[in-house]
Symmetry: C2
Subunit: 491 residues, 2 copies
């Protein structure tokens, strides 16, 4: 698709603003039905969309189909969450002349949508983090409108998906302009600058995300920038786990770091294992990689970035190559190797994401080093412990919880379920905020609270009325009240 002109970008944002205003008062059921209409549209057009995605990427049909399924499910789950009204955080304090600090007026608070949200699509998830991915779906669920900046890695899919979305929204009766698509780097920058845009959702590189964050914070009116910038995803193997199931761990590790050619922000990029000797590890890795067929990466730019990152990491003193890979158009996976004493002397080794099928194994001398090694890490989307039955490394768990958004026990970080308890985030540089871009909690990012003081009941937003016409959970004078029939969470 063609780059969007500044005039067309401005028109899209203005239309989105009008659609936001027209749509902000609809009831929860209507808003949920818009999400469901999009889900139906995507399901209906699925085969054609997957065909286009398959032509524009090397991810393969099974993965694309499962990613589309995930995106459809996400819309349905968010629709169910919207119907419940959980995200509104409706809170009612009745007036109280005996309130401890002095008489309290009637005060009621509810979350309201921010306005137009700018969303930047990601290259590595043509469905789940692109046109109608997590950021778009959660912004619409919040009641915002969305102007989506397409990723150049799959432009035809972006246009086709946007058409499906627009048709679904139109047939569902949503206001025109609630969702639109723009393209091009310059349109992206104008999107972040536009005064009617009130928040940004971004999935991409640390450098790009950091630049846009500064942009968003330097506007005359700074706006929230929800950036998911990537991850290293360190995995720690205890001595006992290594003794009991070394081969299985290495095999699963290979499966996880090569999945989708390593193009996941949750790819395990570091594996800490007891001192073993490279040869023994190499043997298992080579066996695990036997028969692996590499495919092209998502773009030439991504391949070039991958080459640069891997070359930099293997150039550090004390890093050797355990499994030699390639930077061919279809790169063979690569495993680098070093020791705990090297990374203690040169912690930068642990801070460079290699986005693609490469990972670094660090042999440690003694398990007692793990807390110190973990503390060398920057913020992580995930960290993982591989343990033996009965082990309880509580101190290490606490350290990992302190630096990451999700901690896994005897699992692998690739695979991020969309659910109520998911947190796909983590301290910088994993993300630029303390929020999640996956799961129902992602909706909260695009809301802000407003309190109403001493209002007549009839003028209050429905979720704040005493008769609770929408049946949402209400915290009344400090105590939550739910309407049981609205609390079903079945999807």
């Amino acid at each position: 698709m063609k780059d969007t002109s500044p005039e067309a970008l401005d028109a899209a944002v203005r239309a989105a603003h009008e659609a936001f205003r027209a749509g902000r008062q609809v009831d929860l059921s209507t808003r949920a039905s818009w999400l469901e209409a999009i889900a139906e549209g995507l399901a209906h057009d699925g085969p054609a969309l997957v065909a286009t995605a398959d032509r524009e990427t090397s991810l393969g049909r099974p993965r694309l189909e499962s990613e589309l399924r995930r995106s459809i499910f996400q819309l349905q789950l968010f629709a169910s969450e919207v119907r419940q009204g959980e995200h509104l955080d409706a809170t009612i304090d009745h007036s109280d002349p005996a309130w401890g600090m002095g008489p309290r007026p009637d005060l009621r608070r509810v979350n309201q949508p921010l306005g137009v949200v700018g969303v930047f699509g990601a290259s590595n998830f043509p469905f789940a983090f692109s046109v109608m991915g997590g950021d778009s779906a959660s912004a619409l669920a919040a009641g915002c409108s969305v102007v989506h900046k397409a990723h150049e890695a799959h432009p035809d899919l972006a246009e086709q998906t946007a058409q499906t979305v627009a048709a679904a929204l139109e047939s569902a009766g949503a206001p025109a302009g609630l969702f639109s698509l723009v393209a091009g780097r310059s349109a992206g920058e104008h999107l972040v600058d536009h005064p009617l845009v009130k928040a940004i959702g971004f999935t991409g590189s640390t450098a790009g995300g950091r630049a846009l964050l500064q942009h968003a914070q330097s506007r005359p009116e700074p706006i929230p920038f929800y950036g998911e910038l990537g991850g290293i995803n360190a995995v720690f193997v205890t001595t006992a786990a290594w003794q009991q199931r070394r081969e299985a761990i290495l095999k699963e590790y290979v499966g996880s770091f090569t999945l989708g050619m390593g193009q996941f922000c949750t790819k395990p990029g570091l594996l800490f294992v007891p001192a073993t000797g490279g040869e023994e590890i190499r043997r298992v890795l080579l066996a695990s990689l036997d028969g692996f067929t590499p495919t092209r990466l998502l773009s030439d730019a991504l391949l070039e970035g991958y080459r640069r990152a891997v070359t930099e990491v293997r150039g550090h003193a004390g890093v050797d190559v355990l499994v030699e890979g390639t930077f061919a158009p279809e790169p063979a996976p690569m495993v680098l190797h070093t020791t705990s004493s090297r990374v203690l002397a040169d912690p930068e080794l642990l801070r460079r994401e290699m986005f693609g099928p490469a990972s670094l194994i660090i042999e440690y001398d003694d398990e007692s080093q793990l807390p110190a090694l973990a503390q060398l890490l920057e913020g992580q989307l995930t960290t993982t412990l591989q343990t033996a039955p009965g082990e309880t490394p509580s101190d290490l768990v606490d350290i990992l919880a302190g630096i990451s958004g999700r901690v896994l026990w005897n699992g692998w970080p690739t695979g991020v379920t969309v659910s109520y308890a998911q947190h796909h985030g983590g301290p910088f540089p994993a993300t630029t905020s303390n929020t999640t871009s996956v799961g129902t909690a992602a909706i909260r990012r695009f809301l802000r609270p407003v309190s109403y003081q001493s209002f007549p009941l009839g003028l209050l937003p429905e979720p704040l009325r005493d008769n609770n016409p929408w049946g949402v959970p209400q915290r009344i004078d400090g105590r939550w009240h739910t309407v049981p029939s609205r609390q079903s969470a079945s999807v």
Copy 2:
């Protein structure tokens, strides 16, 4: 007190970091008891603290006593909230092989404290937004440690309050270093820069706040900056309300904008009224101001800023003086006056905060102008409607909710209760975030979520265990479960 050296600042932050680590695992009841101990300490030392505050400010004892009472109550309310565990947002998704997008692992999420929080005290609230004000109390409630940068307007009170807090925390068994005090502009900047500081709470000017926001976002690791930068607090009077109770409205307006010599971020700085003629308004204002005894402002710097702001506003074309004030050390209140046609032509008139006892009255020609006038405003902490019985200006309410954090109906914005439903925030420049600095929701600012995947129950944080040993609200598979006995909200 002396300015804190860079070395001493570093030592304070490191001690706070160690205290955070030592204290982060305590149970809710223990953490609540620390807040209660501080409340008791402040109550016990109250007379001495008020005496010092009375010497260092011109606010007067009744106000200072009520502000201290408010601060003590706030700690008690937060302690009650901590005991309930509401702020943890504990969420449990059991594993579900039939989950719509594919099998779901066991996933559980809980909010965890960020770490060391830097808090900047405000000049205008020596208790409620200073050493142990809302930011410090909510950070401690969240489980963070606090390094507080004292405001230079009341340095002795800051030291004395910090001693009370430290003694209370020590006797309650809290880790040393959990709270400490620093002073000086340079220490403040180092505080924002320190790598172990994970969030900033700030109450102050737009210019100062904006500079520190940029600072916080430009660090190698950007951190959240919760800035409450002030407000204009527009009040809109309908024609019918004006006809029915013009004198009462003007009298209450004078009471609100001169309260505490106008040194409130919630001072009504704009009053929109129907075209009346200045003389008639002036008569009522003068009568309302009759007998008003001005006092000194909080500092010479503040007086100078007040003079600059008022001089700038009255220098705009079409602005005249309805009630002449002074810039004497004890400034007489001042009311400026203009018309809706002037502000429509020159909206900057509505965007300059005059921090002190001045306000601007705008006469509008027709009530139908009010939505357009409201849309000229920047983000507001509060907006207010003065109406007659039976009026339902829904469109205007929606616009006001869109630009402010709290909307009042037939009230006045000064006076901010500490409660569950309070939202003391608002779009920029009112604040730099979508959060509140007053009320129990303020605690959430200093927490971030962490998810645990497939963990053994015994290694999970207590709030995420199936047997719920702390009795906190848990959202289990999408549905909230509360333990009734823990849900009492009595304070």
